[in-house]
């Protein structure tokens, strides 16, 4: 019994240390500049939403939020549309060369992202996409390819063939079978893929930094970076900006934790 208490204490302590930067950020975001300049407190004495409101309106985080949302939604919807079709073909249909093609997609996993960064920027420039949202969305969709193809091919393969034959007997064509039989059956995998695409896209920083020039097109992480490298940034403002970025992700994580965790640990089982 005492052992259990000790274990709980240790875990609680470690959990607290692990969560401390987050708690510290929330606390800072809820303090006014005056309190912060006086050293700040972990539990705000005069909690206020003023810092958040100011960051949201005067520091353009509303605009950055819109940009991030547009890029994230487009990338996620695009990835789901493109790779659910591909996964269906790889997992449920037979055609010559499918193993080779599948292998090509998975092979991208072994090319470190950093080695593709430079030509990607030049390519954006050549295609006239440098500094645009599309220039982030298209490579973003492609970046999910290895994970998406593996995850969805496995999911589609796991759907019993009897379901397909039953749909055929009822006279459903390929499109109908895909939409009303297969898609509902692989829903958990689609949710997982949506999460594993949306969160990294929302957080993406490096490609945005090297390709976006006009502050009007900045995504949230870039807006935060811009704020922190400006002259004399206020600590509470930086934390409010961080909190704005983190809230949607933490909400997604809390509500869909199961799909997220299953996806992360399941994807590696291959």
């Amino acid at each position: 019994m005492t052992r259990r208490v000790v274990v709980h204490l240790l875990l609680g302590l470690y959990g607290l240390v692990s969560a401390y930067p987050f708690l510290w950020m929330v606390s800072g975001a809820l303090q006014g500049t005056k309190e912060m300049l006086g050293g700040g407190h972990l539990i705000p004495r005069h909690p206020t939403l003023g810092t958040l409101a100011q960051t949201w309106t005067q520091l353009h985080f509303l605009r950055y939020f819109g940009n991030s949302l547009a890029v994230t939604v487009a990338t996620t919807v695009g990835a789901l549309a493109v790779y659910s079709l591909a996964g269906y073909s790889f997992g449920a249909l037979r055609f010559p060369g499918r193993r080779l093609l599948y292998g090509c997609f998975v092979a991208l996993l072994f090319v470190p992202g950093i080695t593709m960064l430079l030509p990607l920027v030049i390519l954006q420039n050549r295609l006239g996409l440098l500094g645009t949202r599309t220039g982030l969305i298209l490579p973003g969709i492609n970046a999910t390819a290895p994970l998406a193809v593996m995850l969805l091919t496995n999911a589609f393969r796991a759907v019993p063939r009897e379901l397909r034959e039953a749909a055929r007997m009822d006279g459903a064509g390929e499109a109908r079978t895909f939409v009303s039989v297969y898609l509902p059956a692989v829903r958990p995998a689609l949710v997982t893929l949506a999460l594993l695409t949306a969160i990294p896209t929302w957080n993406e920083f490096v490609l945005a930094r090297v390709s976006l020039g006009d502050p009007a097109t900045y995504t949230l992480p870039l807006g935060l970076q811009d704020l922190s490298s400006s002259a004399n940034p206020q600590q509470n403002t930086l934390m409010a900006a961080s909190l704005i970025i983190v809230i949607p992700v933490v909400l997604l994580f809390v509500f869909l934790q199961r799909s997220f965790v299953n996806g992360l640990t399941g994807a590696v089982k291959g």
């Binding site: 470690y14 090509c104 593709m116 064509g173 499109a175 920083f205 090297v210 870039l222 970076q225 930086l238």
Partner: protein, 302 residues
Amino acid sequence: MSSSTTCPFGTRRTRRWIPWLSVAVPSLGWLVFGLYPSLATVYYSFTTYSGLPGTPMTFCGLCNYRDMFTSNYSQLSQAVVTTLEYVGGVTVLQIGLGLGLALLLQRRRFGYGLYRALIFMPQVFSVTIVGVLFSLLLDPSSGPAEAVYHSVIGGYSSFLGDSNLAIWLIVLVNVWMFSGYTMLVYIAGLRRIPPEVYEAASLDGAGAIRRFWKITWPLLAPSTTVNVFLTVMGSLGEYALILVLTQGQYHTQTLGMFMFNTAFGVNPDLGLGSMLAMVQFVLTAVIGGVLLWALRRREVSL
């Protein structure tokens, strides 16, 4: 559902094209945003090119390779050493911590779900946030870390500005971010070990430590393979975290950071940067290959 012949993609002849149509778009993406950039990196590494719009790209053979392995060799070798220190530090700490946490948190008990979530959460933070938060936490004049350091150890430290310390602090930040993931993979592995194995060992009178080394550790080999491989590969390619914390200053210039600074720094040199990307690619491929081979062999022998 009525039987109909108007359903799209209905006939035998058109049906044959469906798989090809459905993989056409992702294949195009693969060619344009996957294969092309990979091959372009190889080509750029043989050119002199600043990367700035309007500047010429001139083919120069092995010039970048020659320069890097002669006059700039010390910079390159320093970057490789820093990379290996970083990878080694992250891997040892993250595997150790992840395994320890998994052993403690594998059971479904009251409150354990919360601990797991708290430990896992940093993974969903953007690196920019992590950069801002830790720069403030580790601020040498006003951060909370300074207060703790001053009262516990005494004296002052410049933390991320200290060339002996900075890389290890980034290692710790990396471990903080991703040890929850390592933990989850280990928990999944632990839950696949059948309880009967432990019961048999208990009957034989094996103690907890003996049970760990004789049963748990060998049976966890597949999870260890996954964790070690992903951690090594992930930390080898890590540069965003270093970029937001130190920009590669104070002895934190890993190979990836060196490449980033060369290609996008004050005097951008895309040719040289691409050459460094090639070194990064080769290093990753060699380490990844050897690692997979060694881990597989280990799994068989255990």
